[in-house]
Symmetry: C2
Subunit: 333 residues, 2 copies
């Protein structure tokens, strides 16, 4: 568990997109983000107070979170100077970088000397069990996609937020780096050893109150040859009561695989349901979440109507029109 | 790659079953097994010449293979004395134990001092790529099962042996510890990091001659909640042209999961085929391999006939009647 609140380190982000982890925290868990720290040349701005490390300490910050991607595969000396100083001042440091904080000898030494923790959220910290498939109390909803990077995390976060707004019991369960930094905990599923994937998800979504929902962050796609095994482990470990199908209507091929077309939503439904029934015979597909960012307003609405009519399922773009109808659809389950 | 030939270390095996790795090597790759090494009290016998380490060296042995499971979660001093001596004499040592050889300080030191290699085949030694899903030349056959531990490795080995007997081009591709020790190479798929599972199988089954078959060792089952993700990665990484379904007709529940029944062969067919078509639209299920060990001769034959009639697919028990009809079924592909 990463201690909150956070100071978001934006470094020298060359553009706002480089700081998308910080943006995710700012959008989805703003109460933990007390401020931002920017180096000269930083082109990203979360609209948070710019703070020195001293000001962050006064504001009660516990952890400096690297909310920006590093360039060129190295953590630059300018970054390390700030992060080492933060450790010396008593902050923990968390990051989801490909280059691990713990592999930087100076940061590792600074953490050890000051009794602080380096959180590399790409690396599992728990010896996960092998899944046992036993029925757990509580309800679980899982977002599945026709492709990777299609809005599954956004959908789960939007549903969780809407349920909390309504006073329903809900917890977002992070399975990827950004989700873990947003919530401060989770399972970095793509880095888990094969035999323990499903068990890691059982661990992440334990027995709970009968009216509590886990909103489980999806990963990959059953139709993406590189990552489909991760997706199936998520379905069988998550034991979902409800599935939401996620789609991006303008995408022409599977992410990173130009020779693979996307499946239809019907194919996704017909493939995912029998697999999910292995662990939960009453599982239902409750709705469709469409990422219509690439479409104009009229076109987006026509797209949602067309899919809703075709599949007979509530169909929304949670970004444009909210996740309310998806949450409504959970009511009967 | 583990250097051959082998001396099979049977230790103080309390019963023949404890030495099943040695038995697998003896049954499936007898030409590499020059002899066996037994400690006092050993209750296993491969029918190979008992050899001292000196005799093994004279016979040209390169690697001492631990062909027996250790008891109580420790590698005993009696074992270590022999293995350390083997390293000192210039042999490599290979094992698929849960306790790693490399975690034994005395063995690690002996290997380093003598410039020898400890092969812990449970641990991947390659930085596998992420799968790219690109079509490869050559043919691939994958055994899939209604459950784990149901005869998939045996089926693939039997088909490989039959193809080699007929002068056809075939290679058994090991994906588990026993298979790796039998062939000297392979991918320990259950120990691979989630994101690289399918890529590891692409690496294991590279482009080959158009008339060459890889016989890929299956793992897990699409219907086993603990390991299904591993199975799907194998299907999508393996890009099979042919699938053989494996079944055990007397099993009453999924291995290790008393509350999960087995799927029918029809369910397995209808689930696996659409998933396999994602990477290979022309994939076919060519036959059924039934493990009838628990049945008498008449009962076994009736069982095979019943399944063959029901599914319209060549159905054999490769142990009782050989894998010839499964190999015949590959002819048209």
């Amino acid at each position: 568990m990463i201690q909150t609140p956070y100071l978001l380190f934006l470094g020298d982000a060359p553009d706002p997109l480089a700081a998308k982890v910080a943006q995710g925290i700012r959008d989805w868990n703003p109460e933990v983000a007390k401020g931002q720290f920017r180096l000269p040349g930083c082109a990203a701005d979360m609209g948070l107070p710019d703070m020195t490390l001293e000001e962050a300490a006064q504001a009660g910050v516990k952890t400096v979170v690297v909310g920006v991607a590093n360039r060129g595969g190295v953590i630059s000396p300018a970054w390390k100077a700030v992060l080492a100083e933060a450790l010396a001042m008593g902050f923990d440091v968390a990051a989801g970088l490909h280059n691990l904080l713990r592999n930087e000898p100076d940061l590792k030494a600074a953490a050890r000397e000051n009794g602080r923790t380096l959180h590399d959220v790409r690396i599992p910290t728990v010896a996960y069990p092998i899944a046992n498939g036993e029925k757990r109390t509580g309800k679980r909803c899982l977002a599945i996609g026709t492709d990777c990077s299609i809005g599954k995390m956004y959908t789960a976060l939007a549903m969780d937020r809407e349920m909390n707004r309504r006073g329903m019991k809900s917890t977002f369960r992070a399975t990827g780096q950004t989700g873990i930094l947003i919530t401060g905990a989770g399972v970095p599923l793509d880095a888990v050893i094969a035999d323990f994937m499903a068990g890691a998800i059982e661990y992440l979504t334990p027995a709970n109150d009968p009216d509590h929902w886990d909103q489980i962050e999806g990963q990959g796609s059953l139709f993406h040859p590189s990552y489909s095994g991760v997706t199936l482990a998520l379905i069988h470990g998550g034991q979902p009561d409800a599935l939401v199908m996620c789609h991006e209507p303008t995408r022409t091929h599977m992410r990173g695989l130009p020779h693979y077309g996307l499946p239809t939503l019907e194919q996704l439904r017909d493939t995912a349901l029998p697999l999910a029934r292995v662990v939960n015979p009453t599982v239902k597909i409750v709705g469709v979440s469409v990422n219509t960012k690439a479409l104009g307003e009229d076109e987006a609405m026509r797209c949602l109507e067309e899919i809703e009519a075709r599949l007979g399922l509530p169909t929304v773009d949670p970004y444009r029109i909210g996740a309310g109808r998806l949450v409504d659809a959970l009511a009967g389950i």
